[in-house]
Amino acid sequence: MKASLNRKVAYIGLGWLVVGAFMLPFLWMVLGSFKTTVDFLSYPPVWLFQPTLENYRQVFADNAFARYVLNSLLVAAGATFFGLLLGIPAAYALARWRRRAMGIVLLAARMAPGIAFLIPLFVLFLQLHLVGSYVSLIASHLIFTLPLTVWLMVGFIEALPVEIEQSALIDGCSVPGALLRVVVPLTAQGIAATSILSFIASWNNFLFALVLANENTKTLPVAVLGYIGYTSIQWGTLMAASCLITTPVLVLALCVQKYIVRGLVTGAVTG
């Protein structure tokens, strides 16, 4: 008994040490966001200090920050919504009738570098005079939210027993009707998880917004780079902004823990 207790203590210690090391950047970001410039630039680094809210005040004093938050929300919500609108029917078709070619298209999308989509889209949007518009941002983010939605939803729909839909169809329900009245309500939890993963992917995306957004439509990941000025870098403000950007996604991610790996495997990431 004693030996197994010692083992447990050793595992707890080692486990927290390893995972704790992975948490260091978060700790450093949060600490940094409450430091004055003097504390920020002192060496050896200070772990205990008189915290200041000045950095957060700085972030919000800049009116543009609220605008960037709205931009990010709008683009992520739009890309998620249209991803679901097109992705759920497609996933339903794939799950029930298996279209092999579609699977290949989606797999190619997982492997294709973001830039392979971005170059043609940029030229296309340029010709349509849409560069810098929300339309271009939302449409381009569909490149990754759509495959993500389809892959995840295929899994959720396949887990449903076919009999329920079949009885709806026999009772005279149309196929779209069965999808809307039977499949969607029964996969509500899956849809919620998919929405969150899709939202995170869009919120975090950098490259597409870097190329397609303008001064008024840029999203948070692009905007945060603005804190690195040509002459001076406001480190504390940068850390405060980083905290504000990452906290929502961290909270959302913890809500859908179970599905995170599945989401990442199926393509939340595009380079």
Binding site: K8, Y11, I12, G15, W16, V18, F22, L24, P25, F26, W28, G32, S42, Y43, P44, P45, L86, G87, P89, A90, A93, L94, R99, M102, V105, A108, M111, A112, P113, G114, I115, A116, F117, L118, I119, P120, F122, V123, L124, I143, L146, P176, L179, N204, F206, L207, V211, L220, V224, L225, M239, S242, A253, L254, I260, V261, L264, V269, T270, G271
Partner: protein
């Protein structure tokens, strides 16, 4: 149903077909010159483009370092967290955070931490006796390994979580039989766990491979490809050449090469798995 499927094929396939079309043209967005057909000359020019070849080699180096660090480390973490001990589930939940946190923001946090004179990394290394660490991102020899480490911080937890799922799904019988036969912990790992986990490890490696070959965000934010071009990956070069230097057609051919590279190496790795089992 069908309209949705069709829409998706259009959204996904149209840009790639357009990319293919661009890659055989001399194409610029500013200026008034219309695109002109140049056949395969964009691809031929790649062979003599030193910056392209170097970025390609650098990306392969980046990918190799990434795979060699992520997979063993992730597997080791998975073995640790597969043990049953209190607070294990809290640790598993925390492991999710690095891979979902906004990469741009975390890249900047790492820049702060890696500062050669004031950074906390220098301080922590000093505590364990490493007094003169390299300049990390400013050192041409160290910049790629340093970026790999930051990438590993983000993605090793994903490998760990995939491996944990794999470990949880292993059958119990072989382990029971080995216990009865008196196999040591090491023997059980080497002769049972590792071979049974091989398919999972290959899947994790495939996923990492796809994303390592495409690495760009953290590089753009942390070094911009510098110092000089010492950390310029093929994806970053691709972005610069196509969208910053306005050589769209040429950039399209780079993008196709990168796509082909990801496709080919993933298929090779998938074949390896086929050969193994």
């Amino acid at each position: 149903m069908l309209p949705a499927l069709l829409a998706i094929v259009l959204v996904m396939a149209f840009p790639l077909l357009y990319l293919l079309f661009m890659s055989v043209h001399k194409w610029s967005m500013v200026g008034y010159e219309p695109p002109s057909f140049v056949g395969s000359s964009n691809f031929v020019a790649l062979i003599n483009d030193r910056r392209f070849i170097e970025s390609l080699a650098r990306t392969l180096y980046f990918t190799a370092l990434g795979l060699l660090s992520n997979i063993p480390l992730g597997f080791a973490i998975a073995l640790l967290l597969a043990e049953n001990f209190p607070t294990r589930n809290v640790l598993r939940a925390l492991l999710i955070l690095p891979m979902v946190a906004t990469p741009v923001a975390m890249g900047l946090v790492w820049v702060v931490m890696l500062d050669p004179s004031l950074g906390v990394v220098r301080y922590l290394l000093g505590l364990v006796g490493l007094d003169s660490p390299p300049l990390w991102l400013s050192d041409t020899a160290w910049v790629v390994p340093t970026l790999v480490a930051v990438d590993a911080w983000m993605w090793t937890p994903m490998v760990a979580l995939i491996c944990m799922a794999g470990l949880a799904a292993l059958p119990a019988e072989p382990f029971e039989a080995a216990m009865v036969d008196g196999a040591s912990v090491w023997q059980r790992f080497w002769y049972i766990t590792l071979p049974l986990m091989m398919p999972t490890l290959v899947v994790a490696a495939m996923l990492r491979l796809m994303d390592l070959l495409k690495v760009i965000d953290i590089v753009y934010v942390m070094t911009g490809g510098g110092p000089g071009h010492a950390s310029e990956t093929i994806n970053l070069y691709n972005y610069l050449v196509a969208l910053a230097y306005d050589k769209v057609g040429y950039g399209a051919s780079v993008a196709l090469v990168l796509f082909a590279l990801v496709l080919a190496s993933t298929i090779i790795l998938a074949r390896l798995r086929g050969g193994q089992s």
